[in-house]
Symmetry: C2
Subunit: 157 residues, 2 copies
């Protein structure tokens, strides 16, 4: 992506960013599950039919990982990279084979970081939607974002 990278000074509350899209295939759902979440409803269509999900569903951690990929690939163009301290995640519906995911991110809050004066802490909410525009995941995260002007201690926050 050719978006310019944004520093703390470039961000304002309410600002929104839209990612590209990512199509989730059954093969990727099963491959990820075999490595990190080997439960029947993530591994096998037949076994998934009788489960809580009623059909093959992606591990929530795969949905989260794909979300990260979309954000890194231009969905949230932050200078210095996307460095998260953590956040709150919820999976509102399953990600299914063939789903095409897209992430919309909104800046919720900007704060100073007393322990790291060259950066700020930015709270963002990323909503992940499928091709029917239904939300599959919401992640509200705190990101460490560098200031552009780091050489002046007199610059106001």
């Amino acid at each position: 992506m050719s978006s310019p990278l944004l520093y703390l000074e470039d961000l304002v509350v309410g600002q929104r960013f839209l990612s590209g899209t990512y199509r989730v295939e059954a093969a990727e759902i099963k491959e990820f599950a075999a490595k990190y979440d080997p439960q029947p409803f993530h591994l096998d269509e037949e076994a998934a039919l009788d489960s809580f999900f009623g059909g093959l569903a992606a591990s929530g951690w795969l949905t989260a990982s794909i979300t990260m990929r979309l954000l890194v690939d231009g969905g949230l163009p932050i200078a210095g990279g996307l460095i998260g301290a953590g956040g709150e995640i919820s999976w509102t519906r399953p990600t299914r084979p063939g789903d095409v995911l897209q992430v919309e991110t909104e800046v919720l809050e900007l704060a100073s970081m007393p322990t790291r004066p060259t950066s700020g802490l930015v709270t963002v909410r990323s909503r992940v939607r499928n091709q029917e525009k239904k939300i599959v995941q919401i992640f509200t995260a705190k990101l460490v974002v560098p200031r552009q002007v780091q050489n002046s201690i007199s610059k106001p926050v």
Copy 2:
């Protein structure tokens, strides 16, 4: 693992579970990053030296995924599988190449699920430690856990 699988009725607040261990190699850190979190500090030792992390660090989503694997492999033996509605995650320090991770989970809260009377909602906190017993991740999650006795509507909660 040979632990018996636990139903809602088997769980009590304060109960703890300890997982097996998982050694995180540099190759896995880079492979995961190439797919889902392609940022220099997760991909390349040299590039990582000058970064926020000061050296190669695992994507937080890899740490979360490995945590899930440890829980599924007996670290949290819940009947019906580990089905999370979401939760709060924090990465307290980086996961590094060679780290050996282990998850300790504590039951924090048990609640009914009005929309799903055959299950309950169980809040658990999973702390992930490295080989120095330092915490790298804390995940507080809400899990959907089935009741063992599902055929009596008069059974008390």
